[in-house]
Amino acid sequence: MAAATTYREPRRVDWAGIGFAVVLTLCIILPLLVVGTWAFANVWRYPSVLPQEFGLRYWNATLARADVWTAITTSISLAVVVTLISAIICLPAAFAFARLQFPGRSILFFSFLAGQAFPKFGLLVAIAGIFLQLNLIGNFWGVVLIQLVGTLLFMIWIPVAAFQGVDRRMEEAARDVGASPLRVFWSITLPQAGPTIGAAVLLTFVNTFYETEGAWLIGAPAIRTMPVLMISFINNQPVIQYGAVLSVLLWIPSFFALLFARRVISGGSFARGFGA
């Protein structure tokens, strides 16, 4: 026993790993820490390395602004409406793609990739050209439509994988003992596919919440979401802390995505969905 520990081969130091960890920490975490620090700095004058005074003064000031509250409610209502509509039209479609046989099934399934072959902003401009004739520019429902289209691929493809992953033998067994199709769906299919579908819904909500380009191109100036307000803070707001506080607020949905959807993203199937 003692000999085994004494003569254990010395661990090789993982220099490459240490290098990557240090460089990535500096490049990825540090900039975000700086923003976080600015949000809680009452006074931070150049060239001090740390703020002269910490505090919540600018949280009160930011949350007292009417434009911030309008942006928060606009962003949340847009994301909720888009996610709901997307779930209502996409989940039954995903179920059909996974389970039913119908003409053109394969080509229709792959048609959701159509948007992926084109640079996104060019596509948005082409859509905006159509919306101009329909009076959907500067309109809440115009923004809903353009953001809804952006959610279709994920909301169909991830749930299709989820429905196909359900154990069919359990469904058959339930049918054999006389359960109705609806009962089978409710008690067997949904609980198994649920977690992945939940992650898809969460990712759709978060992506919609952060969607900036469609909201800016179609919605401005009447519809101001939080990212759009953030752009105007960056361009025109001399008080640095307003932008910092808004950044921290803006990051909250991402934080939830990080907590609950990381597993889906780290899994290989997510990268394969991007053609890897």
Binding site: D14, T25, L32, F102, G129, Q164, R175, L182, S247
Partner: protein, 293 residues
């Protein structure tokens, strides 16, 4: 996620299954047709068939001739191509070593590195832009630290062409690493060990064993980056120079600020043209991967 054969377990009989299936997928499919395919075709048609003085529609390449003879448009296109190529090269140079490390390393440090490499997925680009300005902008964190070390200030990349390059690379690291790692998953340990046994050094193993096997993944990662960067809007708009500007901000300004949709749509069709090879290759790879499983 390939479409496996279905059965009628869920209650729909074979006959009505077809109709029910089509009805269930109708709304999203029609949305794709109306909001993706129709606008693309309409964009090409409306920029090539223009209304003449008599009110009739005639074929004309006028808006395209304007784009390709206008110095400002060409400068914007040039900047966009430069940014796209530089970003794609930097992304591969940065992400390939990370992906290689993560493929062969084990342990807690590797988990931490992977977590960091994927983390930018959870930071929206607008927060990234703001963080960029606070760190690399004038009197930003880097200037503060340099000053504390009694070193001269940097020439800030903010509002120069390098601003969008740094931001876009940061933003695209996670998916590039994920795509390359998925490709490296198909390189077997046995082939690496075999090459080691016959005395192949690290460089030889990389060049003759690993790179040929992941060349497709590299092309997919590059295509994905090109599609995302060519018409990027937020990062170039916030971090880039006012003139020349990248195609994204250029299209937005032409459409909304100059009220000139025909020329904005022409710019969109031009960017479709420059990306079409990458777009088709990318979509073909996704389809092939889906079918393989």
């Amino acid at each position: 996620m390939s479409l496996s054969p279905t059965s009628d377990i869920v209650g729909a009989s074979k006959k009505s299954g077809g109709l029910i299936g089509l009805l269930l997928v109708a709304v999203p499919v029609l949305l794709i047709g109306w909001m993706i395919i129709y606008p693309i075709i309409a964009a090409v048609i409306t920029t090539l068939w223009l209304r003449n003085d008599a009110g009739a529609y005639v074929f004309s390449t006028q808006t395209y001739r304007f784009f390709f003879t206008d110095g400002y448009s060409l400068a914007n296109l040039g900047l966009t191509l430069w940014t796209t190529v530089v970003c794609a090269i930097i992304l591969l140079v940065v992400c390939l070593p990370i992906a290689l490390y993560l493929r062969f390393a084990t342990g807690r440090l590797a988990v931490y590195v992977q977590g960091l490499a994927i983390f930018p997925l959870f930071v929206p680009s607008i927060i990234l832009s703001y963080a960029f300005i606070r760190v690399l902008g004038p009197n930003g964190m880097l200037d503060i630290l340099l000053n504390a070390a009694h070193l001269p200030k940097i020439r800030s990349p903010y509002l120069t062409p390098w601003g969008p390059v740094i931001g876009l690379v940061w933003d695209h690291i996670p998916l590039t690493v994920l795509i390359l790692m998925a490709g490296l998953g198909s390189v077997s340990d046995a082939s690496i060990e075999a090459a080691k046994d016959v005395g192949a050094g690290p460089v030889t193993r990389l060049w003759y064993i690993i790179l040929p096997r992941i060349s497709n993944s590299i092309l997919v990662a590059a295509s994905f980056a090109v599609l995302g960067i060519f018409s990027a809007f937020t990062l170039p708009y916030v971090l880039g120079p006012a003139a020349p500007e990248m195609m994204g901000p250029f299209m937005q300004r032409t459409f909304r600020d100059l009220y000139d949709p025909p020329n904005a749509i022409t710019q969109a069709v031009v960017s479709f043209g420059f990306c079409i090879v990458f777009g088709l290759f990318y979509v073909r790879s996704v389809v092939r991967n889906q079918r393989a499983r």
